[in-house]
Structure formats: structure tokens, C-alpha cells
Symmetry: C2
Subunit: 463 residues, 2 copies
């Protein structure tokens, strides 16, 4: 960034909102991938108009700009890999309004997802998207990545709750899409084009989100399995039963042991897998379906199968599940974190394939995740100090991806591409479709300044 660019940026952002200090740049250099890319400057977003001025300055001076929520993304979406500016959206954190009569919330992107859930709940409403990082991730990051999470089986993903967006184009023009209507078919669906575009098309500064009525009751059933195929049978039986669980989560033995040593929750030792099923709805259904799920899991070989006696006990189980990601960080000096998804019927085959790869490559690969929608988190653990281990780990990723694509699966169910999967996108996406995506990127960001080298591989209009 040259002097003219820096001055233009300071004018656009307001000098107090621009930080080019070493400490500031350092603080914004990393995300949950553990990689480091210090930006040349950090800008704190203040309002839509200021974001528009900042983007226009960046386009005019060909300075890359990377929007950043909480930095909790797992694929590098918030990293300044091409230098330039990190735009910190955390300050735009107002819940502007919750309108129960319209069943919507209007929020700024820096709102922490759990805070939105809590604010909705106070009014008897429910914001279903629930990524495991819900306590610290932001709505803006969730929109950028189309975050999924624990309740997607029944309630869908972030995309399904976005009704309208206010966003800023790289050239500084502000625009809105959609509104507060539950249905609308006027014009192309730019709302859902922006969701999941990983901050490469526009910077979202406001969103209208759909809320649902709060479910009356919930129940959680846990089942531990001595054999992995029993757990797969259990998932299959629950999903085929007509129950629509809120969540149907899977953790394998290594994941369970990691969580136990991390959080000391008193989980049974020696289990090969755990299945957690949550039901919600009217109390009499939840009651019946909890019994039905418990029976199906026991028939599949679950032992013990247990229904949480109260919400406190259920919360302990969900805490174990949510701790799985963080817990695995302590298990090995390095891990590669993938979140492949396959068509539901191929779930057991995928788990089996991953175990074969682990054995062949001589690696630990704990697996946990969202069995109910075919989306599993695959954690390839290795010690970079060990000769050849890193190579084997990357080979394992390739092996697993090849298997996933052969099953008609996808390389990411909810984490996104970022930089982490850029090299593999070409193997999944149709080349014509990829060309169309590049064409769309050109329409939104002809100068190529917005989050460059993310999401779409190939010829960037380089900054």
C-alpha cells in the first residue's frame, strides 16, 4: 500500500478507525486455521456509509480488502493473504430490532450469533442456525460462509433464514436485496447469492433474518456404541423412522477420548462411537419420539442408551459435542480440518473409507459431526516434526476427497472453501459452472479487490 492509498484510506475510514501499527496488524493476522497473514492495515467498520467510503478507496487504489467477523472461520476466509486491509466488522454489532409480528430480526453483521439467539428467545422466538462456535462467531461470518451447525437436519442452514441484505459493492455503491417478506420472487435471488460467497462479492452491513416460534420442549438421547457399524445403523434407523430430529450427531472413539481428556465430563471409556439425538416440538411428541429414538438406538446395539433427565444434563452432553473441535487441537501438534458431506445413504461408507485412509497413512483421524445431514468433521492429526508425516496428512486429505467425490459428495458442508480447499475446488465443481461463478465475481468486483484468492480458484483479477 503506497502513501496515497494509506492517506485515502485514513480519510475514508476516519483516522481513529485505521490502525497500521505492528501490534494491530499482528492481532488481525490469524484466524482459527492457525495460519498467519498480517494485513497492511486494520480498519474498524463504523457504519454502512463509512464502509462504502473505505471500499471505494480500496478499489480506487487497488488495495485488497478482507472483511472479518470473529476470525473463527476454519478455512482462512478472514486472512489477508494478498495483504491490504482487514475490515473488522465487530463494531457493527447492534440488534437493530426484533419484530415478533413479522417474525424477523434486523441485525448488523458483528452480532454474536448466541446473542441473537438469546435476544430472540426473550421474545418467545427462535433463531435456528447454531454453529458449534455460536458463542463467539458472528452473524456476518455465518452469512459469508452459509454456516450450518447442529440443528441443520431439521432447520436448515443460515441461507434458509436470510430474507434481506444491505451490502456494499467494492466500488462503494450500497444496495439492498429482499426485505422482510417470507416469500418474494421479484428479480434474481441476490440474497442467496451473497450468502456463502465468502466475502468475495460485497460486504454485508445489515441483514433481515427470519425467526420461528420457540419450540415448546426439547429432549436429548445419547447412545454409546462398542462398534462403529452399530452407530451407523442407529443413525440410519432414526433418520428413516419419520422422526425429524433437530440434531443427529456422531462422535467416534478418538473424538470422545479427546473430549474426555479436555473437559472431563465422565463419558464412558472405551466406546467406539456416540450418537446424540435431539428432538424438539410439543412436549407430548418430544416425549414419544425420545422413547422411539432410544429404542431404535438400543436395537442398533447402543449401550448405554440414555435420555437426559433435564436440560442441565442435556447441556452437558451438548457441551461435549461442541468441545470436540477445540479438544482435538490438544491431541497433536498439527491437524488438518475437513468437513466433507455425502448423500445421506453414503454416510457409513464414508466413515469406513476415512478409517481405511487413517490406517494406510499411519495417522489418527478422529471423526465427528452432523450425521443427520451427511456432514462430518474429519480431523487429520499429525506431528510435523515426524519425517514424512505432513506429506502423509496431505495425502490423506486427497484420498478422502477422492472418495467423497466418488460418492457424489462435497468437499465442504459448512466451512466453506476459503484458501484451505482452493486447490480441490476444481475437482468438485463443473468447469462451466466455475466459469459462470468467475463471471459473477467480475460483475460484482471487476477490480478484484474483495477477499482475493478465496472461494474460487484460478485467474484472479489480481490486486
Amino acid at each position: 500500500m503506497d502513501k496515497a492509498a494509506r492517506e485515502a484510506l485514513a480519510r475514508a475510514a476516519g483516522p481513529a478507525n485505521l490502525d497500521a501499527s505492528k501490534a494491530g496488524r499482528e492481532a488481525y493476522s490469524y484466524d482459527a486455521t492457525g495460519h498467519r497473514h498480517p494485513p497492511e492495515a486494520v480498519v474498524r467498520a463504523v457504519d454502512t456509509e463509512q464502509v462504502a467510503r473505505v471500499l471505494a478507496a480500496c478499489t480506487a487504489h487497488r488495495v485488497p480488502l478482507v472483511p472479518r467477523g470473529a476470525g473463527s472461520g476454519l478455512t482462512g476466509g478472514a486472512l489477508a493473504v494478498a495483504g491490504g486491509v482487514v475490515l473488522d466488522m465487530a463494531g457493527l454489532s447492534r440488534i437493530v430490532e426484533i419484530r415478533p409480528a413479522d417474525q424477523v430480526a434486523v441485525v448488523e453483521p458483528g452480532v454474536v450469533t448466541a446473542d441473537l439467539q438469546a435476544a430472540a428467545e426473550v421474545r418467545g422466538m427462535f433463531y435456528p442456525p447454531d454453529p458449534a462456535s455460536v458463542g463467539f462467531c458472528t452473524v456476518g461470518g455465518n452469512l459469508a460462509e452459509n454456516a450450518g451447525g447442529l440443528r441443520a437436519v431439521k432447520y436448515g442452514v443460515t441461507r434458509d433464514y436470510v430474507l434481506g441484505i444491505t451490502a456494499v459493492l467494492p466500488d462503494g455503491r450500497v444496495f439492498t436485496t429482499g426485505g422482510a417478506n417470507l416469500k418474494s420472487v421479484v428479480g434474481y435471488d441476490l440474497t442467496r447469492l451473497l450468502v456463502g460467497s465468502e466475502g468475495t462479492l460485497a460486504v454485508i452491513t445489515r441483514a433481515v433474518l427470519r425467526l420461528l416460534p420457540l419450540p415448546e420442549a426439547k429432549a436429548t438421547v445419547s447412545a454409546f456404541f462398542g462398534r462403529l457399524d452399530g452407530a451407523a445403523d442407529g443413525v440410519r434407523a432414526v433418520m428413516a423412522s419419520g422422526i425429524r430430529p433437530v440434531a443427529c450427531e456422531f462422535m467416534d472413539g478418538p473424538s470422545l477420548r479427546a473430549v474426555e481428556s479436555y473437559a472431563g465430563l465422565g463419558l464412558p471409556e472405551g466406546a467406539a462411537a456416540m450418537i446424540l439425538v435431539e428432538m424438539d416440538g410439543p412436549p407430548e411428541v418430544v416425549e414419544r419420539q425420545a422413547g422411539q429414538a432410544a429404542r431404535l438406538l438400543a436395537e442398533a446395539g447402543g449401550e448405554p442408551v440414555h435420555r437426559a433427565a433435564d436440560r442441565a444434563e442435556a447441556e452437558r452432553l451438548w457441551k461435549a459435542r461442541r468441545a470436540a473441535g477445540p479438544a482435538l487441537f490438544g491431541m497433536a501438534p498439527a491437524k488438518l480440518n475437513e468437513d466433507v458431506a455425502v448423500p445421506l445413504g453414503s454416510l457409513a461408507a464414508m466413515v469406513e473409507r476415512i478409517h481405511q485412509v487413517a490406517e494406510r497413512r499411519g495417522l489418527d483421524i478422529p471423526v465427528f459431526g452432523h450425521a443427520g445431514d451427511g456432514n462430518l468433521h474429519v480431523n487429520i492429526l499429525f506431528d510435523p516434526a515426524r519425517e514424512g508425516a505432513e506429506h502423509q496428512a496431505h495425502q490423506a486429505v486427497s484420498d478422502i476427497f477422492a472418495g467423497v467425490l466418488k460418492m457424489g459428495g462435497t468437499l465442504s458442508g459448512e466451512h466453506g472453501v476459503g484458501t484451505a480447499k482452493l486447490g480441490y475446488v476444481g475437482a468438485e465443481l463443473d468447469p462451466v459452472a466455475l466459469g459462470l461463478m468467475r463471471g459473477i465475481k467480475q460483475v460484482f468486483d471487476p477490480a478484484g479487490i474483495l477477499n482475493p484468492h478465496k472461494s474460487l480458484p484460478g485467474p484472479e483479477v489480481a490486486a
Copy 2:
């Protein structure tokens, strides 16, 4: 279309699949709007490869092409307004497979929606999108328009059930988006960009659709109201109660009388409104919620409130609702058919506004539709032979649209823009967003041959 174009088209389509006869052109000249635009030729789609050849020939010779499902659209999407070719997709009507383990169906676009519903049901599965025209509309048309229908309150719209698409670009290139995965975030969401794009971006030749488990039980409650505001109170009470009805439908008095004289169902005379609520799910919930809905509707002044004793009786009530559209065709020599939607909390205000407009303009404007998601069908009846009536009818549309937009509503909840609303789109859409949509159209269809003069107003790349 010149001779060279016609010959190229015959080669591309196969001579037996091309019909340029007067009778053939006449048969494909109209749709449910009642407007007539005879194409220069009709091509019967046979398979993806042939569709690709036909599109490439049209692009090479700058011949407009209009894909057509059942012609049941209400905004002119299937009309050859710029001449050229109508591509009849009805022959691509295979349900390729239903995969219960993956919870998906793979279908061609010519499948009649009700046939897909029935095929899924045989396997214990459920395809929720349910436009009132379900018995004759096609899946391809539903995708093009992002069709809504009676169950959208609980189950969402067509968009929410599309996992993957095979489509052909105007230049003949075939591409796929998505797949059979319940979650995927690799690349931009072209799947949902195509859904609702009204056949202006690509021709869909195959789709992977999500299925759900079939609900165990259903119940229908009807309530008649002497006063319109009682009906509005009833809808509000049901929607705020925590019940998530499958459908929450509204018909005003004139709609009820039209249906009665059309179908003779024995509906009570003199009612100002009817509300129909359907619940589905486990039988014990349906039981309780049906009672709860009946109580709420009675408290709001419903009289009589009645729960259908069995499916046969419920079907009679739904038949009345589905007959509303067709019935109104008989009420006046001409009607304008709008399907505005507003944020849920503004529903009663919208109905009131429409009645004011009817009074001011001296017109009958029966209203019915999807109260549970704020989407109402507004039927402006008039006699073109009466001096000034047509002018008043068009003024009424403008009055209603102005009110809808003031409430933050949208000009179409589920019918789409087509040609019918083209003149009003600019009043709803953000001009920057509209520019982005035009840019996207350019990426997909630089020659502008695909369904020209539909969906997006303004500078067409004219054929």
C-alpha cells in the same frame, strides 16, 4: 426467423421435433394469463443433448427461445413475446429415481408436480412444494418461478427443495450445480440463482430434489367469519400461538361466493371470510393443535369453526381453496391477477387497503391466499366493455402496489414477474441490485436469446 435459422433449428432438434405449422404455433401461443403470442416454431425437447444443440442454434442465429412447462404460469413467462421458438419441456417427464436412503428424487423438468408427490408418497416420502396448480403444473415451471403454494408457511418454497441442477446455457454448454448433498458450500450458489430466474439464464433439464419423511397425520380446521377483521385476528392468533401450521389460508366473501357458484360445495352463505388451517405431524400433536387452532379461531369470532372429520371432508375444503383461482375467471369478463406479499404483521392492513382501493375504483377485487406467509392473491375483476373500467383496473393495480411497497412488501410472492409485472419491478428493486442482475444475465446469456423481455426490465440485449 430466416431460412438458415429454420434449417439449423431442424437439424438441431431433429425434423420430427420441430413444428412450424399454424396449428402448432397456435397451440403454444398462450398461457394462463390469456395473452396470445404465437411463436415462429415449436420444438419438443427430447434430451439434454438435443436441448443443447437447439440452444446453440438459437444463439448462432439470434433466435429467441422460450422454455415452456405446462403453460400454467400467471405472469406470461412461457409466452413468446419476442417471437422465436417455444421449447416444450413436457416430453422430458421421467422421474429418474427416488432414493429414500438419500432423501432425494432425481427428476426431469416435465414431471407434473402431483405425480412427483404421489411417487414420493408411495415410498413413504414427501415432496412439500404444493402450488394450487399442482395437478397440472410441472416441476420445471416450479423451479423457473420458485413456486410457492399452500404449504409454504411450514415447509418453505420450491427453492428450499432443490439440491442440484443440470442445465444448458444459451450457447449450448451443459453444466451441473450442487448434487445430492443436504449441505454444500463449495462455490457460489448457482442452484438458487437458477431457481426463480424465470428461464432467462439457462434451461433446466434435470434436478435433484430433497424429500422429507411423510408426516404421520393431518388435520384441517375451517372457520367462517362475519367480519373481515375477525379473520385477521384469527390468523394473527394462530401464527403467534407457537403452532407451525402447514397452511393458513384466507378467502374473502367474494372469493367464497365465486367458489360456491363454481363448485357447489355447500359453503355457508353470507360469510365475510374463511380461514383454513392445516396441521401435520405426529397424531397426538395434530390432535391437540387442531383443538387449539379451533379455540383461537372461535375466540376471534369464527362461527362456525369446524374440524374436518376425515380426509375426505378436509379434501373438500382444500378443493374449495384450490378452486378459487379458476372460479374467479367466471366472475367477470376480465381479471388482473396479482400475488403481492407483505411482512406478516402488515397482512390485515394490506387487506384493508385493497378493499379501500376496490371501493375508490368501483371494482370487485376478491382476495384469497396464503395468510400464514403474508402472500395474498388479489383479483381485480372488470368488464372491458364498460367505459373506463380497464383504466380503473390498471389504476387499482398501481394503487395496490404503491401500498404494498410502502409496507415493505413485494409485488410477487410466488408468481414471478414474467411480462405482467415488468413495468413495476423498478419500483421495488434497488437500482444497484437491478444493475447486478443485468450483469448476471449478461454472464449467462450474452446474446440475450433466452426468454427475452421477462423478469428484468430495461435494456435487453435484444435478439
